[in-house]
C-alpha cells in the first residue's frame, strides 16, 4: 500500500494579477470577451420595417386661441387694405429692416410678417385662391390703404434683399409685370384729364370739319383779294368783285 494516498487537484487556480473585485475595470480573458460578445442581447426585429409602413401623420389641430387670433388678423388685413403686395424676404440686417419700414410708413404702407401655415388656410377659404402658390418660404406682406405703387417700387429697388412676387390691388391679382405696368400708369387726375381731353377732341374737331368744305374756296378768295390789293396800289381798282363773291 502507498504511504499516503493524496491527490493533486484537477484545476489549479493561477494566483497572478489582481483580485476578483477591483476599483478599475479588470481586463477580461480573451475567451471571456468572446463569450460576452457572442451572448449579447439581440433585439427582435419587426416583420415589416417601420420605414415601409405609412407614416403616422399626427395632425395636431391644436385649436389655439393664438392661431385663431392670427387668422382673424390676416382676414382683417385682407379686408381693409386696397393694396397687398407679397414679397420674398431674404434675411436683412436689422437696421435695414427698420429703415425700410420707416420709408414705407411715410407713404402709409405697413410691413407685416406672417406665417405661411396661418395664411394658407385663410386664403384657401377666401376668394384669393390664386395667391396660394405665392406663400411658400419666407415672405412678408406690404399693405396699405392707398395704392402708392411707384414709391413702393422705388423703396424696394433700393433694398436688394426683398423681391416682389405679386400683388393684389383692389381685388385684382397682378404679377410682377402687372405691378410695374400699374406703376407706369399715370395718376387718377392725369388719366381723368386724359379722358376729358380725348372726349373733347371730337367736338373741337367739328368746327374744322364743317369748315373743311369751304376752306379752300375762302383761301382762294383771300389770295385773289391780296393780288387785287397789290394791283390797286399801282392802279386804284374797285374791290367790287371781291365784295360780290364774299
Amino acid at each position: 500500500a502507498p504511504l499516503s494516498s493524496g491527490w493533486l487537484p484537477a484545476l489549479q487556480f493561477v494566483r497572478r494579477g489582481s483580485k476578483a473585485v477591483t476599483r478599475h475595470w479588470k481586463a477580461m480573458h480573451f475567451q471571456r470577451q468572446k463569450l460576452m460578445a457572442v451572448t449579447e442581447y439581440v433585439a427582435p426585429r419587426p416583420a415589416v420595417p417601420p420605414r415601409c409602413l405609412a407614416p403616422r401623420k399626427e395632425t395636431l389641430e391644436k385649436d389655439n386661441g393664438y392661431v385663431r387670433l392670427l387668422r382673424r388678423q390676416v382676414e382683417e388685413v385682407f379686408r381693409n387694405n386696397r393694396l397687398i403686395a407679397v414679397c420674398q424676404y431674404n434675411s436683412m440686417p436689422g437696421e435695414d429692416v427698420v429703415l425700410m419700414r420707416h420709408y414705407l410708413r411715410k407713404h402709409n404702407i405697413e410691413v407685416k410678417f406672417v406665417l405661411n401655415e396661418i395664411v394658407r388656410p385663410v386664403l384657401s377659404q377666401s376668394k384669393y385662391k390664386n395667391l396660394l402658390p405665392l406663400f411658400v418660404a419666407r415672405n412678408i406682406l406690404l399693405v396699405s390703404r392707398e395704392a402708392k405703387v411707384k414709391e413702393m417700387l422705388r423703396v424696394l429697388k433700393g433694398v436688394p434683399q426683398i423681391n416682389l412676387l405679386g400683388a393684389c390691388i383692389d381685388d385684382t391679382i397682378l404679377s410682377r409685370q402687372g405691378v410695374e405696368n400699374f406703376a407706369k400708369l399715370p395718376s387718377l387726375e392725369a388719366s381723368q384729364g386724359q379722358t376729358v381731353g380725348a372726349l373733347a377732341l371730337l367736338p373741337s374737331q367739328t368746327s374744322s370739319l364743317l369748315q373743311r368744305g369751304s376752306a379752300p374756296l375762302t383761301a382762294l378768295l383771300d389770295q385773289h383779294i391780296r393780288r387785287l390789293q397789290a394791283g390797286e396800289t399801282g392802279s386804284p381798282a374797285e374791290p367790287s368783285p371781291a365784295q360780290s363773291s364774299g
Binding site: A20, V21, T22, M28, Q31, L35, E40, P44
Partner: protein, 212 residues
C-alpha cells in the same frame, strides 16, 4: 393614501465611527461589493429613492453630503426621508504615507458601508410628486462613488418588467447563463464559479446594465 410619516422627517445623522469601535483589524473582503444586493432591494416606507447600479463603499463624507443635500432641498412638512443603508461599520486600514511595504497591517483609518448593485441608499416619501423629488435625487446620485439613479416605485417595477421582457424576447439563442450552466466549450475554465450566480451581468464591482 395611507402614508405614515416617521417621527423625524429629515435624515438621521450618521456617525463616523460606530459606538463600539473595532479593535481587531478586519480583512478586506471585497465580496461585499460584488454581485446583486439581497438587502434593501424594495421600497418600504417611501415612494421614491436612490438605487445603486454598481458596488462601492460609502464613507462618512458621502453620508454627510446626502444628508445635507436632501435636507436642504426637501420640505420637512410634506416629505420625509429615511436611510436604507446602515451607518459605517466596516473598518478600512491605511498605512501612513511614504513608507515602504511591510511592517504589518496599518491602523484603522475610517469606517465604510458596503453597497451592492440594486440596493436602495435613501428613500423619500410623503405628499410629493416624482417630478419634485427627482432633481435633487439625481444631484445626489451623481455624486455617489458608484453609478446610481433616482427611482420611484413605478419606475422600479417598470425596470424589472423590461428586464424580464428582454430576457424573453432575446433573439440570440446563446445566453451566458446557458453557456455557463452547460459548460459549453469548456468556458468555465475562463470564468469564475461565481459567474454561475452572476450570469454575466456583473464584473467585479460593475453592473452591466445592457446585458441580458
Amino acid at each position: 393614501a395611507g402614508i405614515i410619516f416617521p417621527e423625524r422627517t429629515k435624515l438621521k445623522f450618521m456617525d463616523k465611527v460606530p459606538a463600539v469601535p473595532k479593535v481587531r483589524r478586519e480583512p478586506r473582503r471585497l465580496r461585499d461589493i460584488r454581485g446583486p444586493s439581497q438587502v434593501a432591494t424594495d421600497f418600504t416606507q417611501g415612494q421614491y429613492g436612490i438605487m445603486a447600479l454598481g458596488g462601492g463603499y460609502l464613507h462618512w463624507g458621502h453620508f454627510e453630503m446626502i444628508r445635507l443635500t436632501i435636507g436642504r432641498s426637501m420640505d420637512p412638512k410634506t416629505m420625509f426621508a429615511i436611510w436604507r443603508v446602515p451607518a459605517p461599520y466596516k473598518p478600512v486600514t491605511r498605512k501612513s504615507l511614504g513608507h515602504r511595504m511591510g511592517g504589518g497591517k496599518g491602523p484603522i483609518d475610517h469606517y465604510v458601508t458596503a453597497v451592492k448593485s440594486g440596493c436602495l441608499v435613501v428613500e423619500v416619501g410623503g405628499r410629493c410628486e416624482f417630478g419634485e423629488v427627482k432633481p435633487f435625487l439625481t444631484q445626489v446620485a451623481r455624486k455617489l462613488p458608484f453609478p446610481a439613479v433616482a427611482v420611484s416605485r413605478d419606475g422600479l417595477q417598470q425596470m424589472r418588467q423590461e428586464e424580464e421582457e428582454k430576457k424573453l424576447n432575446n433573439q440570440n439563442p446563446w445566453t451566458f447563463e446557458r453557456v455557463v450552466t452547460a459548460n459549453m466549450l469548456g468556458m468555465r475554465k475562463y470564468l469564475s464559479p461565481y459567474d454561475l450566480r452572476l450570469k454575466g451581468r456583473y464584473w467585479g464591482k460593475f453592473f452591466l446594465k445592457h446585458r441580458v
